[in-house]
Structures are given as structure tokens and as C-alpha cells.
């Protein structure tokens, strides 16, 4: 009996000790960032600039002293190498000893797969680019966050922009890439549109293969159908090819195009995009946004990025910077609030949950379900003598509160409950003149 009591006492002491060591997290030498992006394959169109931006930002951040002296050390995983290899690399990095945060991934498929892994391993993971709303709606996570917008916000804002720009159209056709994002984004867009304008007729739903080299048949079919509006949520090379072929054959003259992800293609397409096309920014980062173009931090970043890569930042770049700033911001915030004490992964997650941060544009608020509330910027292309490619004017900002499904609700069901007066919501505001 005495032996048992001694044993219990000893265990209690040990437990208490381990408890204090848990609370007294030692300050690490460096923070390892497990970062993933597409470096190969078609999606490297988004991945490569984002990686360049991250490397550049981290370099500057470390040079300026890091987080109270602790530097960031990124390790990159290529998402282009296939799901098995990606997940094993991910697990390996997430299980390495030492202080680490995962900033992963672009692919919605990978995000769905890695979220439960990060939760199990109790590692903070930032879903930095993938847009699928499902990952955070299907399950509640403690360690998984998305620091950018989700597909629902992007699509609802796009429908609002369309209805405000061209309220009286009758027919619409869609040309989306045949994979998760192309399908899911159309589901949200369609349900939102039908809720806000029930008399619209959907005349064609085309899903050409991801990475298709030729869209002539789709263009021909659209020319024969003559829909009032053509929607495409494609991005990268696919969007470039589709738009070039559509524009060469005059399709853009006959139909109003709405391209919520075209921000990343404008610079390459030049004259292939005529004035009058609705374009979105997948968030609100735009180098020519009149409210932020002269913000010192944003301007310096855009200039440096342009110098280094030869291009203006696209939405993936803005999302990457948001992810990095949200993470480092949460560390700094915790350190400041706790007298320089270093946070555990759990404390970091708690700090992130209620945090407010800024990427390179308007402030963003992290919601309790790990989804960031970031407003959406959309506008209409116009020619501008200052650039060889179209700029976007008549910018409209849609605050996240009116385009995001509330916590605990599934997006597809929520958008069905939207009412037509949302189009005239007073919180929607014009940016610039």
C-alpha cells in the first residue's frame, strides 16, 4: 500500500513537471515551415510565383530579425509529384522534431487529405491556396486554418458582380475545367445564381479536360448557342488557351464573359481580352487597386516582386503572403501578450483563431472555424495606355460577411437561401472612381 502511494506520488510529481515544461515552451532556434506548392505540372503557373514570393518575403523577414530573433526556415514540397509522394513527404516534415508550421497546399484534393493528418499530429497547418469550402465545413479542426477566401465567397461575389453589371440577361453557359474546383465552383455559382435570379436558363455546361490544348469545339458550340453570359472559373494555361481561341473567333464580342480567376492571366493575354470582361481577384489583392497601390508596404513588395520575376503578383502570391503574415503575426501577438513566452502549437492555434491580420490589402479576420473572412474584389477590364495588357476598372468590393456561409452551415445549402435583395446590399462598395 505504501509502495503504491509512493508510486502515485512520484507520478503526480512527474506529471506536474511535464505540465510545467509544456507551459514553459522553450524558445526554438528556428521555425521550420513545411511549405507545399506546385513546382511542376500545369498548376506551377500559380505555384512558381507564389514560391518566389514566399522566398523573397522570408528573406526580408529574417533579415529584419524574424520573430523576436527566431528565423523562418522553409522546406518545400512539390505538389506536382503525385498524391502518395506528396502525403509521405508531408508526414515526414510534419513529424520532424522542433518548432514547425505547415503551410500547405494549393490542390484542394491534397487539402482534404492533409487536414486530418495535421490534426492528428497536432501541427498548425495553413491551407494557403486551396479554395474548397468543404474541407472546413465537413469537419471542425483545431489546428487547420485557411488564411484566404474559400470558393463560396469567390463565387457568391462573382454572381453579385454579374447581376450588378448585367442585370437583365437570360441565358448562361459555363466552361470549367474537369476537376474538383471546376465542378464545385460551378455548383456554388449555379445555386447562388438560381436563388438570386430564378428565371435564368443554363444553356450549356461544358467541362473540358484539365490541361486541354484545344477548346475549338467548345468555342464553336458556344457560338452556335449564343448565350448572353459565359462563365469560366478556369485559371492558368487552360484559361489562356480558352480565351485566346474564343477571342480570335469573336466569341467575346457576342457574350458577356465572367472570369472570376482571370487576374492571373491578364498580363499574359494582352489584347486577347477586350474591354468589358468581368474579372475577379480571388480575394482583394490587385497591384492597381487605387486604395492600396500607394500603400508603402504593398508598393515596395509589388515593385520588388516585379523586378525579381518580371511579372506583377497574381492571387496565389497575395494568398502566400497572407499565410506568412497570419502565422508570424500570431507568434508575435502571443509573445507580446505573454511577456515573451514562446507558444505551444496549441497556443499558437488558439491565438490564430481570433486573430486579425493584413496581407497586402484590406484587413482579414480569422473566424472560429478556421476560415478567414476576406472580402472579394471584382471589376471590369478596360484598356489603359500605361500597360500593354488590360487593367481592371469599376472595381467593386464585397465584404466577406455578406458572401460567406455562416459558421456551421454548408455552403451549397446556404446559397440556396439567399434573397435577390442581396444584390443591392449597402455594404457592397465601389473602389476608386
Amino acid at each position: 500500500m505504501k509502495l503504491l502511494a509512493q508510486f502515485l506520488g512520484a507520478s503526480a510529481v512527474l506529471l506536474a513537471l511535464s505540465g510545467t515544461s509544456h507551459a514553459q515552451q522553450a524558445r526554438p532556434v528556428e521555425i521550420r515551415l513545411g511549405m507545399s506548392t506546385f513546382m511542376t505540372g500545369a498548376a506551377s503557373v500559380l505555384g512558381a510565383p507564389a514560391k518566389a514570393a514566399a522566398d523573397m518575403w522570408i528573406e526580408d523577414f529574417n533579415a529584419a530579425g524574424g520573430i523576436d530573433g527566431v528565423k523562418l526556415k522553409p522546406t518545400w514540397i512539390d505538389e506536382g509529384q503525385g498524391a502518395d509522394k506528396f502525403l509521405s513527404d508531408y508526414r515526414r516534415l510534419a513529424q520532424e522534431p522542433g518548432e514547425k508550421v505547415m503551410i500547405s497546399a494549393i490542390s484542394s484534393g491534397y487539402c482534404n487529405a492533409l487536414a486530418p493528418v495535421a490534426e492528428d499530429l497536432k501541427v498548425v497547418n495553413i491551407l494557403w491556396e486551396c479554395s474548397t469550402e468543404k474541407v472546413l465545413e465537413d469537419r471542425r479542426y483545431k489546428y487547420v486554418f485557411r488564411t484566404g477566401p474559400n470558393g463560396t465567397m469567390e463565387m457568391v461575389a462573382a454572381v453579385l458582380q454579374l447581376l450588378r453589371t448585367k442585370p437583365d440577361f437570360k441565358t448562361i453557359a459555363v466552361v470549367n475545367q474537369d476537376y474538383a474546383w471546376g465542378r464545385d465552383s460551378w455548383e456554388v455559382f449555379r445555386n447562388t445564381l438560381l436563388a438570386l435570379k430564378p428565371d435564368v436558363k443554363i444553356v450549356a455546361e461544358l467541362f473540358p479536360k484539365f490541361g486541354a490544348p484545344d477548346f475549338s469545339t467548345e468555342v464553336t458550340r458556344l457560338q452556335a448557342l449564343r448565350p448572353d453570359v459565359v462563365l469560366s472559373t478556369a485559371w492558368g494555361g487552360d484559361l489562356d488557351t480558352f480565351l485566346r481561341q474564343a477571342s480570335q473567333r469573336g466569341l467575346l464580342k457576342n457574350s458577356q464573359f465572367i472570369l472570376p480567376l482571370a487576374d492571373s492571366s491578364l498580363e499574359r493575354l494582352g489584347d486577347a481580352i477586350p474591354p468589358g470582361v468581368i474579372v475577379g481577384f480571388v480575394g482583394d489583392g490587385y497591384f492597381a487597386d487605387p486604395e492600396y497601390a500607394n500603400d508603402p508596404e504593398t508598393r515596395a513588395f509589388v515593385q520588388k516582386f516585379k523586378q525579381r520575376t518580371g511579372a506583377y503578383p497574381n492571387f496565389a502570391v497575395y494568398h502566400m503572403i497572407q499565410a506568412l503574415k497570419a502565422t508570424t503575426g500570431a507568434y508575435k501577438h502571443f509573445l507580446a501578450d505573454n511577456g515573451g513566452k514562446w507558444p505551444s502549437a496549441e497556443q499558437l492555434a488558439t491565438t490564430l483563431r481570433g486573430s486579425e491580420y493584413r496581407g497586402l490589402s484590406r484587413p482579414i479576420r480569422m473566424r472560429e472555424d478556421g476560415q478567414a473572412l476576406q472580402g472579394q474584389l471584382l471589376g471590369i477590364t478596360r484598356k489603359d495606355p500605361s500597360q500593354a495588357f488590360p487593367l481592371v476598372g469599376q472595381l467593386t468590393f464585397y465584404p466577406a460577411d455578406i458572401v460567406a456561409a455562416p459558421v456551421g452551415q454548408k455552403s451549397v445549402e446556404w446559397v440556396k437561401s439567399l434573397k435577390p435583395d442581396l444584390v443591392q446590399n449597402a455594404q457592397i462598395k465601389r473602389v476608386g472612381n
Binding site: 490541361g211 475549338s216 452556335a224 489562356d240 488557351t241
Partner: protein, 301 residues
């Protein structure tokens, strides 16, 4: 589906089939001579497109003449495709000549991956395209729908010319007849005094140029991104499997079949567009396991 739509779909089908045919042609030629599926052919397609785009971008400030630009497409394809094809044969496949065909396949796959990385090193991951060349040739109205002359007339014309030229070369020129002999039986051909090694290099150069031409012709219409080569090689493999390995006329028919069926299905059942080439392939192979145009092979002892 009315007659007008069938006409429209055929036009798209033919233009897609033309590109597919040009790429399959090189693939099937190598398959005939070496008995190996050259996976690296996909990279030749990509290199053809990228280098044509680079050449056009360089030319644009100097000239605005459309014929010069068209010529540039052919020159880029012939030089880059021919040289790379030769290099592949001389520098790599020659050393695996009499090895297991599976090993040869893996070697070409390795070459494909190396070339793919090389291409990323040179041209990066940003989509590359050759701007306005296709637009310069004008458009034509057909059944209320605008088509580009480039796509409607020029590309199919080049494909047909390549087909006719290759047939002529194989039947009536000395080098061509040597190729045919080597395809038929390498050993006998060597015994007859044909330099099989030289024929091999020649075939690879020709096939490389044809693959690169496919790329060069598509760069004014499409955007080249990393991974496009793999995309094309898979579809053109469906073409040559449908046609029967090493069959040139077969490749033409099979490319048309796949191109047309793909275009039609976009009107009727768009969901099936992606799998259409493979459905056609399976349908043909179920009836004729060696492809549409396979010939009875002589039994060798």
C-alpha cells in the same frame, strides 16, 4: 442534333485530328523502325512549340510578314525537332538497341523526364504562346459561326501535306525505301547492305521534326505549360494503338476518328469528351486486337 451542328463539329474534329495526326506520325514511325514506344516524343512536341514561340517573339520586332512567320514555325520545328531526335537516337537509344523492349520503353521515359525538366529550366512554368499569328490569317463565317482560317485550312493542309510527303518519301526515295526495308526486317536489311544504324538516326530525326512541327503549329492557338507533352503523348498513343503500330495511313484514319468523335460528343454528351479517345481505342481493339490496319506479321524463326 441537326445537320448544321454535325458540320460544325466535323470542322473542329478535323482541325484537332490534324495536330494529333502530326504527332502520332512521328511516334508510329519510330515504333515501326525500332519496335519501341518513344515516350520522349511528347517532349519533342513541347520543345517544338516552345522554340517556335521563342523564335516568333524574337522575329516580331523585325518583321510583320506572315509568310516569314509561318516559315519560322517550320524552321524551328525542323531544326530543334530534328536535332533532338538525332541526339536521342545517337546518344541514348542506340545503346539499348537489342535490349528488352520494356527497358527501352523505360529509357525513353527517363529521357522524357530529363527533357521535361530541361524545358522547365529554359522556358519556366509561365504559359507560353505565339500571340497573334493565327489571327493574322483571318477568319471565315460558316453556319453563323466564326472559324479561324489557320485552324480550318492551314493546319489540316499541313497535316495532309505531311502525310502525302511521307508516303512519297517512303515509296519513291532511296532513303525511304531503306526505312521500309528496316521496318520489315532489320537483319535482312543489314544483310542486303543497308546501313541500319544510319536509317535509325534518320528516322529519329524525321520523327522528331514531325513531333516538333505538331508543337510549332499548335503554339499560335494554345498555351504551352509544363506537362503538356505528357498530355499529348498519351492521346497520340491512343491514336497509334487504334491504328495499329507502325501504320501511317492507319494513324491518319484513327486520328480523324478520334478527333471527330471527340467533337461530336461535346454536343451530345459533353461529359464523355475526356474519355472519348480511349473509348474509341477500346472499341477498336475489342474487334481488332492489333489495331485497325495491322498487317499479318510473317512468322520469324
Amino acid at each position: 442534333m441537326d445537320l448544321n451542328l454535325i458540320l460544325l463539329a466535323s470542322v473542329d474534329g478535323v482541325s484537332y485530328a490534324s495536330l494529333l495526326f502530326l504527332i502520332s506520325l512521328g511516334l508510329t514511325l519510330i515504333c515501326g523502325v525500332f519496335g519501341v514506344i518513344n515516350v520522349a516524343h511528347g517532349s519533342l512536341y513541347a520543345f517544338g512549340g516552345y522554340s517556335a514561340a521563342t523564335l516568333l517573339a524574337w522575329l516580331t520586332p523585325h518583321t510583320s510578314s506572315t509568310p516569314v512567320m509561318i516559315l519560322a514555325l517550320f524552321v524551328a520545328a525542323a531544326v530543334v525537332g530534328g536535332a533532338l531526335g538525332m541526339l536521342l537516337e545517337r546518344g541514348l537509344l542506340r545503346f539499348f538497341q537489342d535490349r528488352d523492349p520494356i527497358l527501352q520503353l523505360l529509357v525513353t521515359f527517363a529521357a522524357f523526364m530529363v527533357l521535361e525538366d530541361l524545358q522547365r529550366m529554359i522556358w519556366g512554368s509561365t504559359p507560353v504562346s505565339a500571340g497573334d499569328l493565327a489571327g493574322r490569317m483571318g477568319t471565315v463565317e460558316l453556319g453563323g459561326v466564326t472559324f479561324m482560317n489557320y485552324q480550318l485550312l492551314f493546319v489540316p493542309g499541313v497535316a495532309l501535306a505531311a502525310y502525302a510527303g511521307l508516303q512519297f518519301l517512303l515509296r519513291h526515295s532511296l532513303a525511304g525505301r531503306q526505312i521500309v526495308t528496316v521496318i520489315h526486317n532489320r537483319e535482312v536489311a543489314t544483310a542486303l547492305g543497308i546501313n541500319a544504324a544510319r536509317v535509325g538516326t534518320l528516322t529519329f530525326a524525321l520523327a522528331g521534326a514531325l513531333g516538333a512541327l505538331g508543337g510549332a503549329l499548335s503554339v499560335p492557338m494554345t498555351s504551352f505549360v509544363p506537362g503538356l507533352g505528357a498530355e499529348m503523348i498519351v492521346t497520340s498513343f491512343a491514336v497509334i494503338a487504334t491504328a495499329g503500330l507502325g501504320q501511317i495511313t492507319g494513324a491518319l484514319i484513327a486520328a480523324l476518328l478520334i478527333g471527330l468523335s471527340r467533337a461530336m460528343v461535346v454536343y451530345v454528351l459533353p461529359e464523355l469528351e475526356v474519355v472519348m479517345p480511349y473509348l474509341m481505342m477500346v472499341a477498336v481493339l475489342l474487334v481488332r486486337p492489333h489495331g485497325l490496319f495491322s498487317v499479318t506479321a510473317a512468322r520469324r524463326i
